[in-house]
């Protein structure tokens, strides 16, 4: 079902995705919102797979349901019907507590507005997801330092978000997303609040994570330039998934 493209080229040759196992299976997913007395369908009969290590871009106009689909895959929203199986786990069957635990272990989140906690330093922000693990303080420090090294921000670990540029904040957010070594990274408009140079830097970093660490990345974006970095681009329109195209 996937359609590999030849993006992220500057980071090395594209992997052959067909040989990789499917990590995300989306089947017959429907989602609607209630606005007053009106039921507004957002997603209708969505079916697709994502393979391990795939970098997928979800595109579409505003209100097309791409963020909703991302939220459903990331386990922060519930489907009305259908199933989403990720790594063999049907996350639509999990309750809130199980889902929270599953998210903490399997998914890294990158948001448009970085969503760093302003009263915590870069180090402390990256350390947050590790608070839910059984790691010791020194182990946590080791992991955080490594994650900050990956995003090239070791020298700014004691800075607060307000002391960092937008691009730096997003890199801290990426470090926070990868610090627990999740299989999947979900990114909602990761470059939407950045200038062109910072956006390029972030996309380059995400490509590197996909290729070097075999992370499966699902990115929602409006930006065709950013989408170019993805191996697969899928378009959503009025709640339906159009054919994939490179």
């Amino acid at each position: 079902m996937t359609d590999p493209t030849t993006t992220c080229d500057e980071h090395g040759p594209s992997p052959v995705l067909e040989n990789r196992p499917v990590i995300v299976e989306v089947r017959n997913v429907n989602k609607a919102y209630l606005r007053g007395s009106h039921i507004i369908p957002v997603l209708q009969e969505i079916n697709f797979d994502i393979r391990e290590g795939e970098f997928l871009a979800l595109m579409g106009p505003s209100g097309s349901g791409k963020s909703t689909l991302l939220n459903l895959i990331a386990g922060i929203d519930k489907v009305d019907s259908g199933t989403i199986v990720i790594g063999g786990v049907d996350i639509t069957a999990l309750d809130e507590t199980e889902l929270a635990h599953w998210r903490a272990t399997n998914v890294g989140f990158i948001f448009q507005f970085y969503n760093l906690i302003p009263v915590l330093t870069a180090f402390e922000n990256v350390e947050l997801p590790l608070q839910l693990t059984g790691l010791t303080r020194s182990e946590r420090r080791e992991h955080v330092e490594m994650a900050l090294r990956v995003v090239n921000l070791s020298h700014r670990m004691d800075h607060y978000p307000s002391q960092l540029s937008g691009g730096e904040q997003q890199r801290v957010a990426i470090a926070r997303a990868v610090v627990t070594d999740p299989a999947i990274l979900v990114a909602d408009e990761p470059t939407g609040d950045l200038d062109r140079a910072s956006a390029k830097e972030i996309m380059s970093l995400m490509c590197r994570l996909c290729r070097e660490s075999s992370k499966t990345i699902i990115m929602v974006t409006h930006d065709p330039k950013a989408a170019e970095a993805a191996q697969v681009i899928r378009n959503l329109d009025k709640g339906s998934l159009n054919n994939a195209h490179p």
Binding site: D77, A100, R103, F113, V119, Q131
Partner: protein, 385 residues
């Protein structure tokens, strides 16, 4: 876990708002503490009462006297082991504003009935042996600079004239609950003077104070004494010292109820203020709470953050408020010592302050926590940007 650090940093994110909220809590706790202390001061006489002491007065009113002749009959009542008597003298020192409680009493028995008035033996003996001697409480002696051996003159208001006394002793209370503002002198001195100047007022006492062998006999002894003098010209009303003191308090009960009501209103108002602060805080941070939930933190963590911050702010304000209550109460006691001779912050008031602070913190966090915990992550994330 860095939760505590996060709570403290969050509490000071909006310094002005937190500062104003803290100021509000501090003033509220200070006002609450002062009002509770005032209520305690009002009840000080009641609290200091002994279960072994009974007061006998004229059943019509305290202003009507009882004959001195009752003394022997009262002493013979079963259960009575000590009897003393006295009159409210109502004298002032130099001028009206220098008012303090002063009594003409039978010195030996009176001091025996009140072991809480601590007075050196030498001073006690000198006082008992000097018919013009007086014993003053330490606070009053300090206030007017009296020392043992000084001669002072009180201007009588109920018993006219200038009354000269020699200070023979200065008593201290055995603890803080004992009134150290009173002055006692010999009832005989008063009575002898009355015999000369107003014979109709001689040989009469304002009250009898008796000691009983067993507090359980209070009811029986009271009934016996009152029955003894029934249908006489001066019927008696015998009651425990506590009930006697309570009768004074009950005269101003409406004021006390009003003070207690106001103290509760203050707490309710500050509860609303802190609740408002926490509601604003939680509303502003809904996006952050959604991020925490996204990362896998559960509702308990969000609840801990909000309750922690609310309790931190309210308890910090409470601690500052309690800290200020002591010097303010001391200044108040200095300034209005005449009206509130026993005015100090009781430990119970501090506990009430702390309880009020905790209650304010908990109640203020309830609604914001419920809202933050129950909001859908996707809705919360939508608030960012």
């Amino acid at each position: 876990m860095r939760t505590l650090k996060l709570i403290i940093r969050n509490a000071f994110r909006h310094k002005l708002r937190t500062g104003l909220t803290l100021l509000g809590i501090t003033i509220a706790i200070l006002a609450f503490g002062m009002l509770r202390t005032m209520v305690s001061a009002w009840y000080a006489g009641v609290e200091a009462s002994s279960a072994n002491r009974l007061v006998i007065r004229n059943s019509i009113s305290l202003i009507f006297p009882l004959p001195m002749a009752y003394k022997d009959k009262i002493r013979q009542v079963n259960g009575v082991n000590l009897i003393s008597w006295g009159n409210w003298f109502g004298g002032v020192y130099i001028e009206e504003k220098n008012f303090f409680p002063n009594f003409a009493v039978e010195p030996k028995s009176y001091l025996a009935l009140y072991p809480e008035y601590v007075i050196p033996d030498v001073q006690r003996t000198t006082f008992i042996n000097d018919r013009k001697g007086a014993v003053a409480g330490k606070k009053t002696a300090d206030k007017f600079g009296w020392k043992v051996g000084d001669t002072i003159t009180l201007k009588g208001t109920i018993f006219p004239g200038n009354w000269e006394f020699t200070i023979r002793g200065i008593y201290k209370g055995k603890d803080r609950s004992v009134d150290e503002t009173q002055l006692f002198f010999h009832w005989d001195y008063l009575n002898e003077t009355m015999r000369k100047t107003a014979p109709l007022r001689a040989d009469q006492v304002g009250f009898y104070m008796i000691g009983i062998t067993n507090p359980n006999l209070a009811g029986e002894v009271s009934t016996t004494i009152d029955r003894t003098f029934k249908n006489s010209l001066a019927e008696t009303l015998t009651e425990t010292e506590k009930a006697f003191q309570m009768s004074f308090v009950s005269m101003t009960e409406a004021i006390l109820i009003a003070i207690q009501f106001v103290s509760i209103v203050i707490i309710v108002i500050i509860m609303a203020v802190v609740a408002n602060t926490m509601a604003m805080t939680a509303r502003e941070r809904i996006g952050e709470y959604a991020v925490f939930k996204t990362l896998g933190f559960g509702g308990w963590f969000i609840a801990a953050l909000i309750f922690g911050e609310s309790l931190f702010i309210s308890l910090l304000g409470t601690v500052i408020g309690i800290g200020l209550t002591f010097p303010v109460a001391a200044a108040f006691a200095d300034y209005l010592g005449t009206y509130f001779p026993i005015f100090f912050v009781e430990l119970q008031t501090v506990y009430l302050d702390i309880a009020a602070g905790i209650l304010v913190g908990l109640v203020a966090a309830l609604f914001p926590t419920w809202r933050a915990v129950n909001i859908r992550i996707a809705d919360g994330l939508r608030r960012i940007g």
